[in-house]
Amino acid sequence: MTIWVLIGILIKMLVVVGVTQGAVAYLILVERKIAAYAQDRIGPNRCGREIGVPFALIQPLADGAKMLLKEDVVPKYVTKPLYILAPWIAIATAMIGFAVVPFGPVGPNQIIDFQIAPNVDIGILYVLAVGSLAVYGVILAGWASNNKYAFIGGLRSSAQLISYEIPLGLSILGMVLIAGSLDMNRIMAWQSRHVWGILVQPLGFILFFTSAFAETNRLPFDLPESEQELVGGFHTEYSAMKFGMFFLGEYLHVITVSFITVILFFGGWDVPFVTSPDQSGLLWAIVKVGVITSKVGLVILFIMWVRWTLPRFRYDQLMDLAWKSMIPLALINLVMTAGIVQLVRTYWV
């Protein structure tokens, strides 16, 4: 590895971290607007009006300032090192997932590889693995708070996250079998040459997307919040920026999951009959980055739309859905896909 490759990777890391953090700030504004619209309200529209900024575009700055300037209460009874560590785990696990997410074309014929760690053969596995590490943040926060509500909240949140890992992983496998690779770039290239993943794996898509909602703690699966039953769940004792970090981690997860959804089931940077993996050059690179980011934006908007539509599940319904419906369905989907792929490979290819 030459020094230039290293510098390139560092620049890419800075860009990805900066862009995602900024995106999170503005996504919160977008979410607040969508929430307002769904409830026949206007939403934030005043911040910055005096200085001529339209659409409350500096509201995220105000939100951030509030998070930073609020009193950061650390109760005396908490286990301090773990209490402080937990929000950092929540953010770090969400951030490191971006290492293998391709946000544009990657390949030997490209000028820039739009991926921090290109050519990772087990991209999907890596994302799933670090995504599931978020459980540590939740359970440590619940335990270190030394408060039984937070502890019970942490336990059930981790039970939820672990349960939905299973259908999440199983539903991805169908697409992996079809494309024949765990590398996200090859999966995108396969879709570009054949059809989008959602057409060959519709059931896999529904299962994946549903478990993705649960993995990112979004409604209708936002049981970790549990305001009614557990006065706030695992983050009951957190305030100011420490609470904000959990929130940030959750949003970063939403972005990662949307990227994976687009990459696995909506062709990534692919636009049918327009793009192909062989195209090279700066123009195509920009087009493809634009395509994939707009698709991701649409998926995030859809996730927000669902949030303001569906009510929250009860905890037993949540567990029933995962273990009694989604895991069997995912297994059936996986076995059928494996059989069909085997048949196709044997007789037609």
Binding site: I34, A38, Q39, D40, I42, I206, W305, T309, L310
Partner: protein, 195 residues
């Protein structure tokens, strides 16, 4: 009542259709409902909220907001410092210092030298308004009661009288005629033994 009582009516939950049991069609129907609302507000200006500082909310006539001290035709406070409102107040937020009325005011014996209401302690129950025999204290429809300090929210006589000046036109005094003949005057009310 026994479990097998024939009068017991058993209510079965409505059966779910196939679409209901798959959830997804119902989820899609729900998404359609919110989509209509989102588009309605975003593109057709269908928001139902009041945009407060620009659009003022008009409360109902019986709304109980900030107090005012009514003035009579000569511009004097109508209050006769009988302390009935302060006595009736469950939150003890009214503080009156009465003084003998000047000789030029022959219609009353006392007047309030100081009349202070702590608007932060007030629960806006309207008991003072009910208790006042001369209709001097009233609760107005002013609801945007804010202040930057606790001291700002303690209303003295001048401020309460100025509320009357502000709201006089929008909300005329509820009783402009003198109290009916049979009703005891404030002094009589105070002198009569408590039964």
């Amino acid at each position: 009542m026994r479990v097998d009582d024939p009068k017991l009516k058993k209510i079965e939950p409505p059966t779910m259709s196939l679409g209901d049991r798959f959830y997804l069609p119902q989820v899609a129907a729900g998404l359609l409902v919110t989509a209509k609302h989102i588009f309605g507000v975003a593109f057709q200006d269908k928001a139902i909220t009041v945009q407060y500082p620009e659009q003022q909310h008009v409360p109902s006539p019986v709304y109980r907001g900030v107090h005012r001290l009514n003035k009579d035709e000569e511009g004097r406070p109508k209050c006769v410092a009988c302390m009935l409102c302060a006595t009736a107040c469950p939150a003890h937020c009214i503080d009156i210092v009465g003084a003998t009325a000047p000789p030029s005011w022959p219609d009353r014996e006392k007047y309030p030298e100081s009349f202070v209401i702590d608007e932060l302690r007030c629960i806006y129950c309207g008991m003072c308004e009910e208790a006042c025999p001369v209709e001097a204290i009233e609760l107005t429809g002013l609801y945007d009661l804010t202040g930057l300090s606790r001291e700002e929210m303690i209303f003295d006589k001048a401020k309460l009288l100025s509320v009357f000046d502000v709201t006089r036109d929008a909300e005329p005094m509820k009783f402009t005629t003198p109290p009916p003949a049979g009703r005891p005057t404030p002094t009589q009310a105070l002198d009569s033994p408590v039964s």
